[in-house]
Subunit: 359 residues, 2 copies
Amino acid sequence: MLQTRFTELVQIRYPIVQAGMAGGITTPELVAAVSNAGGLGTIGAGYMAPDDLRTAIRQVKRLTNCPFAVNLFVETETVASDDEIAQMNRYLDQIRAHLGLGPSPKLDQYTQSFADQIQVVLDECVPVFSFTFGIPPRDVIAQLKQRGIVVIGTATTVNEAIELEAAGVDAVVAQGSEAGGHRGTFLSDVSRSLIGTMALVPQVVDHVSVPVIASGGIMDGRGLIACFALGASAVQMGTAFLACPESGAHALYKQRVLNSTEDATEITWAYSGKAARGIRTQFMERMKGYPGNIPPYPVQNALTQDIRRAAAKQNNPEYMSLWAGQGLRLATRRSAAAVIRDTVEQGLVALHQMTSFKR
Amino acid sequence: MLQTRFTELVQIRYPIVQAGMAGGITTPELVAAVSNAGGLGTIGAGYMAPDDLRTAIRQVKRLTNCPFAVNLFVETETVASDDEIAQMNRYLDQIRAHLGLGPSPKLDQYTQSFADQIQVVLDECVPVFSFTFGIPPRDVIAQLKQRGIVVIGTATTVNEAIELEAAGVDAVVAQGSEAGGHRGTFLSDVSRSLIGTMALVPQVVDHVSVPVIASGGIMDGRGLIACFALGASAVQMGTAFLACPESGAHALYKQRVLNSTEDATEITWAYSGKAARGIRTQFMERMKGYPGNIPPYPVQNALTQDIRRAAAKQNNPEYMSLWAGQGLRLATRRSAAAVIRDTVEQGLVALHQMTSFKR
């Protein structure tokens, strides 16, 4: 009874997608473990250089014969003047000094080329491609579909879901406001697009005909069955996998995830110039004092990279980005396979209880 | 299979609570219609004078023999200096002028006395008493329970739910961030207590032993069954009842509810000095330009009362408060009995589909 239109579409056993968390979290081991357990593992490749992405894809292919996905960030136009960048760098230099770093390094590029990344996805003919931050060019979607690659877009509002379906995606992730990490919002202000999963999913389901993947605050079998009830064909879980042994998250990041409560996160633009939900840090607090506008993604993301790297090396989580959703009390340290298995089992129990017992 | 610990506790047929929306929305006709249909109707009595509350309770008793609830606002300490009030009134005077009103009227009192209101609840021995904004004094809870009145508190975080259970409530409303109207938050900043329903409910369920009533973004049978899956024993719905013929909401308020989308609302302090979710209005926009701090509830609520009354008389929704949740696309114009009946029927269908069909 866990077979859905989505599990048929991508040929997986259980309707559970591991979110494409970028920044080294989705190791080939994590992705393959999820897929081998019957879910859909996802390489969070937003920040990956094309060659690194190719290597990761091939590693996953060696570790599993099951379908998996690659997730990329759609290119977003950025306007940041040299003055704005210099002003931000002067502010960040105080934080760099706090961490014993020299002044802002010279940057050659702010981000990876989406065109180069997508070429790898096409060349390697990955089973599933998912994206966020917008909609790829029409010809890219056409090429993906020609190769039989399942295409999944990310929506935070009903209108975004409608545009994604019109662009030809095979499924839509409905990203509720509980979700950790970057907001996929691309049609309006993020502040107007923070719709809770409970409200978002049924409204999206009513307005698109493709399968809907619910995301945001789903941590276990209760969330899985709840999203089924709302009309979703699958769930996407990120925070639930963060503290897995296979996850590439920093040990102290995992510790924070395991020790935090539902109210520990907030939406911040401070790390990347794009809105994302993460556990509150000193870096976020210090950036609230910034007198100017934070340069948009990917500029700010590039500017803060040396700080986050140094913080990780120094084991200082207060200056790392600790992306996480609002289900934090439910995070556990289990293997990825156990997360899938327990979610399915608990979901079946929840379903059974609803139809038989009193609650 | 819709019998739950909560339906047993309050002796109702269906686990659906109509939210205690204050400000004239919950007419005796609405409350009685919900209760007669098998749900739990609630008089939203936060702003009601004790005598008016008594009259309303007696009207409801004439219209139904079924259990119903009264909802009150727990008294909150307020500090607003004369200067702050004068500054706000000067700002509001521009809006008053825009509506053809004279300058700020002299106010005798900012709010009703909670002690007087609760005395009516005790005297009339209403079946269920629910509250928000905090926890009533210990002796009040004791008196309510002595009379066999079921007591329900409102939590927006796990810690609030734990404190409510410790104070002796019989059930806890878990108010997710999707919910319309005032936030019940009383232990920390509202900005830290906007947890989506999907994330909040299971975390609250894990930390209290009393039945949990899920609220926020629940609009139909899908939401009902989803909340069951999360472990809730009932749902509370407000927005779903706003446009009912029995609702006392202004005709143009109902129209806005019926014509708005999921992204039409935001959290504002502008109307009452307390955070609440409502459909965006010109009043909210104009108040964003206010240079000072908005006086806290109930002061600001009293200060803006003449404006909201005049706006209602003038049929100008832009200066009325249009409280609503994020499930707006699912709002319909149906009788309250139909909302209850359809929610139950759709819920049973959703449950059946989950256990038999593919989605």
